[in-house]
Symmetry: C2
Subunit: 213 residues, 2 copies
Protein backbone atom coordinates (compact mmCIF):
# COMPACT_ATOMS: atom_id res chain seq x y z
CA UNK A 1 0.00 0.00 0.00
CA UNK A 2 1.04 3.63 -0.50
CA UNK A 3 1.60 6.16 2.29
CA UNK A 4 -1.91 7.61 1.87
CA UNK A 5 -3.50 4.18 2.36
CA UNK A 6 -1.28 3.45 5.37
CA UNK A 7 -2.58 6.70 6.82
CA UNK A 8 -6.19 5.80 6.11
CA UNK A 9 -5.94 2.25 7.46
CA UNK A 10 -4.13 3.29 10.65
CA UNK A 11 -6.01 6.54 11.21
CA UNK A 12 -2.63 8.27 11.68
CA UNK A 13 -2.23 11.55 9.70
CA UNK A 14 0.32 11.24 6.84
CA UNK A 15 2.37 14.11 8.33
CA UNK A 16 2.72 12.17 11.58
CA UNK A 17 3.77 9.02 9.71
CA UNK A 18 6.44 11.02 7.88
CA UNK A 19 7.67 12.30 11.25
CA UNK A 20 7.88 8.73 12.60
CA UNK A 21 9.82 7.68 9.45
CA UNK A 22 12.26 10.59 9.88
CA UNK A 23 12.75 9.72 13.56
CA UNK A 24 13.49 6.09 12.66
CA UNK A 25 10.49 4.73 14.59
CA UNK A 26 9.12 3.16 11.41
CA UNK A 27 11.21 1.33 8.80
CA UNK A 28 11.24 2.97 5.34
CA UNK A 29 8.90 1.46 2.75
CA UNK A 30 10.14 -0.38 -0.33
CA UNK A 31 11.02 2.30 -2.93
CA UNK A 32 8.97 1.83 -6.13
CA UNK A 33 9.85 5.14 -7.79
CA UNK A 34 11.81 8.29 -7.05
CA UNK A 35 8.90 9.72 -5.06
CA UNK A 36 6.90 6.69 -3.93
CA UNK A 37 7.35 3.79 -1.55
CA UNK A 38 5.30 0.71 -0.81
CA UNK A 39 4.25 -0.26 2.73
CA UNK A 40 2.87 -3.55 4.05
CA UNK A 41 1.21 -5.16 7.06
CA UNK A 42 4.38 -5.04 9.16
CA UNK A 43 4.42 -1.24 8.76
CA UNK A 44 0.78 -1.02 9.83
CA UNK A 45 1.42 -3.15 12.93
CA UNK A 46 4.51 -1.17 13.88
CA UNK A 47 2.65 2.10 13.32
CA UNK A 48 -0.05 1.01 15.77
CA UNK A 49 2.59 0.14 18.33
CA UNK A 50 4.40 3.46 17.92
CA UNK A 51 1.14 5.31 18.36
CA UNK A 52 0.29 3.21 21.44
CA UNK A 53 3.65 4.06 22.99
CA UNK A 54 3.57 7.76 22.21
CA UNK A 55 -0.10 8.66 22.42
CA UNK A 56 -1.37 6.26 25.10
CA UNK A 57 1.81 5.50 27.03
CA UNK A 58 3.03 9.12 26.70
CA UNK A 59 6.51 7.73 26.09
CA UNK A 60 9.06 10.28 24.76
CA UNK A 61 10.21 9.67 21.15
CA UNK A 62 13.79 8.81 22.23
CA UNK A 63 12.44 6.21 24.68
CA UNK A 64 10.14 4.73 22.03
CA UNK A 65 13.16 4.39 19.73
CA UNK A 66 15.08 2.55 22.46
CA UNK A 67 12.13 0.22 23.22
CA UNK A 68 11.75 -0.62 19.52
CA UNK A 69 15.50 -1.22 19.12
CA UNK A 70 15.21 -4.01 21.70
CA UNK A 71 12.02 -5.36 20.09
CA UNK A 72 13.94 -5.63 16.81
CA UNK A 73 17.22 -7.04 18.18
CA UNK A 74 17.20 -10.64 16.94
CA UNK A 75 20.55 -11.33 18.63
CA UNK A 76 18.91 -11.40 22.06
CA UNK A 77 17.30 -14.44 23.79
CA UNK A 78 13.53 -14.36 24.35
CA UNK A 79 13.53 -13.30 28.03
CA UNK A 80 16.22 -10.67 27.54
CA UNK A 81 14.49 -9.37 24.42
CA UNK A 82 11.10 -9.07 26.16
CA UNK A 83 12.76 -7.75 29.31
CA UNK A 84 14.96 -5.18 27.60
CA UNK A 85 11.98 -3.79 25.68
CA UNK A 86 9.90 -3.51 28.87
CA UNK A 87 12.79 -2.20 30.96
CA UNK A 88 13.27 0.63 28.48
CA UNK A 89 9.72 1.86 29.23
CA UNK A 90 9.52 4.76 31.71
CA UNK A 91 9.60 3.76 35.41
CA UNK A 92 9.19 5.90 38.53
CA UNK A 93 12.48 7.38 39.82
CA UNK A 94 14.32 5.09 42.24
CA UNK A 95 13.84 5.55 45.98
CA UNK A 96 16.99 6.98 47.68
CA UNK A 97 19.20 3.99 48.45
CA UNK A 98 20.86 5.28 51.64
CA UNK A 99 17.65 5.74 53.59
CA UNK A 100 16.28 3.69 56.51
CA UNK A 101 12.71 3.45 55.09
CA UNK A 102 14.01 2.21 51.71
CA UNK A 103 16.21 -0.33 53.49
CA UNK A 104 13.26 -1.58 55.54
CA UNK A 105 10.99 -1.80 52.48
CA UNK A 106 13.70 -3.62 50.50
CA UNK A 107 13.77 -6.25 53.25
CA UNK A 108 9.94 -6.52 53.10
CA UNK A 109 10.03 -6.90 49.30
CA UNK A 110 12.79 -9.55 49.43
CA UNK A 111 10.81 -11.48 52.02
CA UNK A 112 7.70 -11.19 49.83
CA UNK A 113 9.55 -12.58 46.78
CA UNK A 114 10.85 -15.48 48.90
CA UNK A 115 7.32 -16.23 50.17
CA UNK A 116 5.92 -16.10 46.63
CA UNK A 117 8.69 -18.33 45.30
CA UNK A 118 9.65 -15.75 42.67
CA UNK A 119 13.22 -17.08 42.56
CA UNK A 120 14.19 -15.46 39.27
CA UNK A 121 12.87 -12.05 40.31
CA UNK A 122 14.92 -12.36 43.53
CA UNK A 123 18.01 -13.30 41.59
CA UNK A 124 17.70 -10.40 39.12
CA UNK A 125 16.96 -8.15 42.11
CA UNK A 126 17.89 -4.47 41.91
CA UNK A 127 19.09 -4.92 38.31
CA UNK A 128 15.42 -4.93 37.32
CA UNK A 129 13.59 -1.59 37.04
CA UNK A 130 10.39 -3.47 37.99
CA UNK A 131 11.95 -4.56 41.28
CA UNK A 132 13.15 -1.03 41.92
CA UNK A 133 9.68 0.37 41.03
CA UNK A 134 8.12 -1.95 43.58
CA UNK A 135 10.53 -0.78 46.29
CA UNK A 136 9.95 2.86 45.32
CA UNK A 137 6.15 2.67 45.29
CA UNK A 138 5.96 0.78 48.61
CA UNK A 139 8.45 3.23 50.14
CA UNK A 140 6.15 6.07 49.08
CA UNK A 141 3.21 4.34 50.78
CA UNK A 142 5.25 3.91 53.98
CA UNK A 143 6.51 7.48 53.90
CA UNK A 144 2.95 8.82 53.56
CA UNK A 145 1.90 6.93 56.66
CA UNK A 146 0.18 4.02 54.86
CA UNK A 147 1.46 0.79 56.30
CA UNK A 148 2.97 -1.60 53.75
CA UNK A 149 1.17 -4.45 55.46
CA UNK A 150 3.00 -7.52 54.06
CA UNK A 151 -0.13 -9.67 53.97
CA UNK A 152 -1.94 -7.26 51.64
CA UNK A 153 1.14 -7.05 49.45
CA UNK A 154 1.15 -10.83 49.19
CA UNK A 155 -2.56 -10.92 48.26
CA UNK A 156 -2.04 -8.32 45.56
CA UNK A 157 1.10 -10.07 44.31
CA UNK A 158 -0.75 -13.39 43.92
CA UNK A 159 -3.46 -11.72 41.82
CA UNK A 160 -0.96 -9.86 39.68
CA UNK A 161 0.94 -13.11 39.21
CA UNK A 162 -2.18 -14.66 37.67
CA UNK A 163 -2.53 -11.61 35.43
CA UNK A 164 1.13 -11.94 34.39
CA UNK A 165 0.78 -15.67 33.72
CA UNK A 166 -2.09 -14.89 31.39
CA UNK A 167 -0.01 -12.11 29.79
CA UNK A 168 2.81 -14.55 29.06
CA UNK A 169 0.42 -17.21 27.77
CA UNK A 170 -1.07 -14.71 25.33
CA UNK A 171 2.42 -14.18 23.89
CA UNK A 172 2.52 -17.86 22.91
CA UNK A 173 0.13 -16.99 20.08
CA UNK A 174 3.11 -15.33 18.34
CA UNK A 175 5.68 -17.64 16.77
CA UNK A 176 8.43 -15.18 16.34
CA UNK A 177 10.35 -13.51 19.23
CA UNK A 178 10.10 -10.06 17.60
CA UNK A 179 6.32 -10.37 17.47
CA UNK A 180 6.29 -11.59 21.07
CA UNK A 181 8.33 -8.56 22.13
CA UNK A 182 6.01 -6.23 20.19
CA UNK A 183 2.96 -7.78 21.83
CA UNK A 184 4.59 -7.61 25.29
CA UNK A 185 5.24 -3.88 24.93
CA UNK A 186 1.73 -3.21 23.61
CA UNK A 187 0.24 -5.23 26.43
CA UNK A 188 2.31 -3.42 29.09
CA UNK A 189 1.28 -0.01 27.82
CA UNK A 190 -2.30 -0.67 26.75
CA UNK A 191 -3.53 -3.14 29.35
CA UNK A 192 -2.41 -1.15 32.40
CA UNK A 193 -5.30 1.34 32.08
CA UNK A 194 -7.72 -1.55 31.38
CA UNK A 195 -6.65 -3.33 34.59
CA UNK A 196 -7.00 -0.15 36.64
CA UNK A 197 -10.47 0.53 35.21
CA UNK A 198 -11.49 -3.06 36.01
CA UNK A 199 -10.25 -2.65 39.60
CA UNK A 200 -12.26 0.53 40.13
CA UNK A 201 -15.38 -0.97 38.62
CA UNK A 202 -15.02 -4.07 40.82
CA UNK A 203 -14.57 -1.81 43.85
CA UNK A 204 -17.88 -0.13 43.04
CA UNK A 205 -19.56 -3.49 42.61
CA UNK A 206 -18.31 -4.81 45.95
CA UNK A 207 -18.80 -1.55 47.82
CA UNK A 208 -22.43 -1.54 46.68
CA UNK A 209 -22.86 -5.20 47.66
CA UNK A 210 -21.48 -4.49 51.12
CA UNK A 211 -22.89 -1.07 51.93
CA UNK A 212 -25.90 -0.76 49.61
CA UNK A 213 -26.38 2.25 47.39
Amino acid sequence: MRLAELGERSGVPVGTIKYYLREGLLAPGRRVSATQAEYDGTHLRRLNLVRALIQIGRVPVATAREVLAHVDDASLGTTIRLGAALWALPHPPDAPADDPVTAEVTAVVDHLLATLGWEHAREIGTLSPSYRSLVTTVTTLARLGYAHDPESLAVYARQMERVAQHDIERLEAFDEDGEKAEAAVASAVLFEPVLLALRRLAQEEHSTRRYGL
Copy 2:
Protein backbone atom coordinates in the same frame (compact mmCIF):
# COMPACT_ATOMS: atom_id res chain seq x y z
CA MET B 1 1.53 20.46 67.65
CA ARG B 2 2.58 23.73 66.02
CA LEU B 3 2.98 24.31 62.27
CA ALA B 4 6.74 23.70 62.40
CA GLU B 5 6.26 20.29 64.04
CA LEU B 6 3.51 19.38 61.54
CA GLY B 7 6.06 20.18 58.83
CA GLU B 8 8.76 18.07 60.46
CA ARG B 9 6.54 15.08 61.14
CA SER B 10 5.02 15.06 57.64
CA GLY B 11 8.18 16.04 55.79
CA VAL B 12 6.14 18.70 53.94
CA PRO B 13 7.77 22.17 53.84
CA VAL B 14 5.92 24.75 55.97
CA GLY B 15 5.41 26.98 52.94
CA THR B 16 3.63 24.14 51.14
CA ILE B 17 1.43 23.48 54.19
CA LYS B 18 0.46 27.17 54.25
CA TYR B 19 -0.44 26.93 50.57
CA TYR B 20 -2.66 23.89 51.24
CA LEU B 21 -4.32 25.82 54.13
CA ARG B 22 -4.98 28.82 51.86
CA GLU B 23 -6.40 26.55 49.16
CA GLY B 24 -8.75 24.90 51.67
CA LEU B 25 -7.21 21.44 51.26
CA LEU B 26 -6.35 21.32 54.94
CA ALA B 27 -8.67 22.52 57.76
CA PRO B 28 -7.30 25.46 59.81
CA GLY B 29 -5.69 24.57 63.15
CA ARG B 30 -7.21 25.55 66.49
CA ARG B 31 -6.18 29.19 67.17
CA VAL B 32 -4.18 29.47 70.39
CA SER B 33 -2.94 33.05 69.96
CA ALA B 34 -3.09 35.84 67.40
CA THR B 35 -0.23 34.28 65.44
CA GLN B 36 -0.27 30.59 66.40
CA ALA B 37 -2.51 27.59 65.81
CA GLU B 38 -2.47 24.07 67.13
CA TYR B 39 -2.62 21.00 64.81
CA ASP B 40 -3.35 17.37 65.62
CA GLY B 41 -3.23 13.84 64.17
CA THR B 42 -6.19 14.48 61.84
CA HIS B 43 -4.22 17.30 60.20
CA LEU B 44 -1.21 15.04 59.79
CA ARG B 45 -3.31 12.29 58.20
CA ARG B 46 -5.05 14.72 55.86
CA LEU B 47 -1.74 16.31 54.92
CA ASN B 48 -0.40 12.91 53.89
CA LEU B 49 -3.48 12.33 51.74
CA VAL B 50 -3.24 15.74 50.08
CA ARG B 51 0.40 15.10 49.27
CA ALA B 52 -0.43 11.64 47.92
CA LEU B 53 -3.09 13.13 45.63
CA ILE B 54 -1.02 16.03 44.37
CA GLN B 55 2.53 14.65 44.31
CA ILE B 56 1.95 10.98 43.53
CA GLY B 57 -1.45 11.06 41.79
CA ARG B 58 -0.55 14.32 39.99
CA VAL B 59 -4.12 15.48 40.66
CA PRO B 60 -4.77 19.21 40.05
CA VAL B 61 -5.48 21.26 43.21
CA ALA B 62 -9.10 21.94 42.20
CA THR B 63 -9.69 18.20 41.70
CA ALA B 64 -8.08 17.38 45.06
CA ARG B 65 -10.45 19.90 46.68
CA GLU B 66 -13.44 18.20 45.05
CA VAL B 67 -12.27 14.71 46.09
CA LEU B 68 -11.79 15.85 49.70
CA ALA B 69 -15.19 17.58 49.77
CA HIS B 70 -16.78 14.17 49.10
CA VAL B 71 -14.52 12.46 51.64
CA ASP B 72 -15.77 14.97 54.25
CA ASP B 73 -19.46 14.97 53.29
CA ALA B 74 -21.09 13.14 56.23
CA SER B 75 -24.55 13.52 54.63
CA LEU B 76 -23.74 10.81 52.05
CA GLY B 77 -24.23 7.04 52.46
CA THR B 78 -21.10 4.87 52.53
CA THR B 79 -21.14 3.66 48.90
CA ILE B 80 -21.99 7.09 47.52
CA ARG B 81 -19.35 8.73 49.70
CA LEU B 82 -16.63 6.29 48.62
CA GLY B 83 -17.86 6.41 45.04
CA ALA B 84 -18.12 10.18 44.80
CA ALA B 85 -14.59 10.61 46.15
CA LEU B 86 -13.20 8.08 43.65
CA TRP B 87 -15.32 9.38 40.76
CA ALA B 88 -13.85 12.84 41.30
CA LEU B 89 -10.34 11.47 40.59
CA PRO B 90 -9.08 12.03 37.04
CA HIS B 91 -10.24 9.48 34.44
CA PRO B 92 -9.30 9.11 30.77
CA PRO B 93 -11.51 11.14 28.40
CA ASP B 94 -14.64 9.26 27.27
CA ALA B 95 -14.57 7.38 23.96
CA PRO B 96 -16.75 9.10 21.29
CA ALA B 97 -20.29 7.79 21.88
CA ASP B 98 -21.54 7.84 18.26
CA ASP B 99 -18.92 5.49 16.88
CA PRO B 100 -19.27 1.87 15.73
CA VAL B 101 -16.15 0.62 17.60
CA THR B 102 -17.35 2.20 20.86
CA ALA B 103 -20.80 0.66 20.37
CA GLU B 104 -19.27 -2.76 19.76
CA VAL B 105 -16.97 -2.49 22.79
CA THR B 106 -19.87 -1.32 24.98
CA ALA B 107 -21.72 -4.50 24.04
CA VAL B 108 -18.61 -6.58 24.89
CA VAL B 109 -18.27 -4.82 28.26
CA ASP B 110 -21.95 -5.28 29.10
CA HIS B 111 -21.71 -8.94 28.25
CA LEU B 112 -18.58 -9.22 30.42
CA LEU B 113 -20.36 -7.64 33.41
CA ALA B 114 -23.28 -10.04 32.95
CA THR B 115 -20.89 -13.03 32.82
CA LEU B 116 -19.09 -11.83 35.95
CA GLY B 117 -22.35 -11.23 37.79
CA TRP B 118 -21.43 -7.63 38.49
CA GLU B 119 -25.10 -6.63 38.71
CA HIS B 120 -24.57 -3.31 40.46
CA ALA B 121 -21.89 -2.20 38.04
CA ARG B 122 -24.27 -3.03 35.18
CA GLU B 123 -27.07 -1.09 36.79
CA ILE B 124 -24.92 2.02 37.42
CA GLY B 125 -23.62 1.63 33.83
CA THR B 126 -22.48 4.72 31.96
CA LEU B 127 -23.17 6.90 35.02
CA SER B 128 -19.91 5.56 36.43
CA PRO B 129 -16.61 7.04 35.23
CA SER B 130 -15.03 3.62 35.91
CA TYR B 131 -17.42 1.95 33.47
CA ARG B 132 -16.73 4.67 30.90
CA SER B 133 -12.96 4.29 31.48
CA LEU B 134 -13.23 0.59 30.80
CA VAL B 135 -15.09 1.21 27.53
CA THR B 136 -12.57 3.90 26.54
CA THR B 137 -9.48 1.84 27.27
CA VAL B 138 -10.81 -1.28 25.51
CA THR B 139 -11.89 0.88 22.55
CA THR B 140 -8.32 2.19 22.33
CA LEU B 141 -7.01 -1.38 22.26
CA ALA B 142 -9.43 -2.29 19.48
CA ARG B 143 -8.67 0.86 17.49
CA LEU B 144 -4.94 0.11 17.65
CA GLY B 145 -5.50 -3.33 16.21
CA TYR B 146 -5.25 -5.27 19.48
CA ALA B 147 -8.21 -7.58 19.75
CA HIS B 148 -10.29 -7.09 22.92
CA ASP B 149 -10.52 -10.85 23.22
CA PRO B 150 -13.42 -11.29 25.70
CA GLU B 151 -11.84 -14.33 27.39
CA SER B 152 -8.71 -12.41 28.36
CA LEU B 153 -10.85 -9.55 29.62
CA ALA B 154 -12.77 -12.01 31.81
CA VAL B 155 -9.53 -13.48 33.21
CA TYR B 156 -8.20 -10.02 34.04
CA ALA B 157 -11.55 -8.96 35.51
CA ARG B 158 -11.63 -11.96 37.85
CA GLN B 159 -8.17 -11.14 39.18
CA MET B 160 -8.98 -7.45 39.61
CA GLU B 161 -12.19 -8.46 41.38
CA ARG B 162 -10.11 -10.30 44.00
CA VAL B 163 -7.88 -7.25 44.33
CA ALA B 164 -10.98 -5.06 44.81
CA GLN B 165 -12.47 -7.44 47.36
CA HIS B 166 -9.29 -7.16 49.37
CA ASP B 167 -9.37 -3.35 48.93
CA ILE B 168 -12.89 -3.19 50.37
CA GLU B 169 -12.03 -5.56 53.23
CA ARG B 170 -9.09 -3.36 54.19
CA LEU B 171 -11.55 -0.45 54.57
CA GLU B 172 -13.36 -2.40 57.29
CA ALA B 173 -10.44 -1.57 59.61
CA PHE B 174 -11.81 1.99 59.71
CA ASP B 175 -14.94 2.56 61.84
CA GLU B 176 -15.93 5.87 60.47
CA ASP B 177 -17.15 6.52 56.91
CA GLY B 178 -14.91 9.58 56.52
CA GLU B 179 -11.85 7.50 57.37
CA LYS B 180 -13.03 4.77 54.99
CA ALA B 181 -13.36 7.34 52.20
CA GLU B 182 -9.91 8.75 52.97
CA ALA B 183 -8.38 5.28 52.87
CA ALA B 184 -10.22 4.44 49.63
CA VAL B 185 -8.82 7.50 47.89
CA ALA B 186 -5.30 6.85 49.20
CA SER B 187 -5.52 3.23 48.12
CA ALA B 188 -6.77 4.15 44.64
CA VAL B 189 -3.94 6.61 44.07
CA LEU B 190 -1.08 4.89 45.90
CA PHE B 191 -1.73 1.22 45.20
CA GLU B 192 -2.15 1.58 41.44
CA PRO B 193 1.62 1.95 40.88
CA VAL B 194 2.29 -0.90 43.33
CA LEU B 195 -0.04 -3.22 41.39
CA LEU B 196 1.56 -2.30 38.07
CA ALA B 197 5.07 -2.88 39.48
CA LEU B 198 3.97 -6.28 40.82
CA ARG B 199 2.56 -7.21 37.41
CA ARG B 200 5.81 -6.35 35.61
CA LEU B 201 7.91 -8.19 38.15
CA ALA B 202 5.67 -11.26 37.88
CA GLN B 203 5.97 -11.05 34.08
CA GLU B 204 9.76 -11.19 34.41
CA GLU B 205 9.52 -14.13 36.79
CA HIS B 206 7.26 -16.12 34.47
CA SER B 207 9.04 -15.11 31.29
CA THR B 208 12.31 -16.37 32.81
CA ARG B 209 10.65 -19.60 33.95
CA ARG B 210 9.29 -20.20 30.47
CA TYR B 211 12.11 -19.01 28.24
CA GLY B 212 15.18 -19.12 30.51
CA LEU B 213 17.49 -16.18 30.87
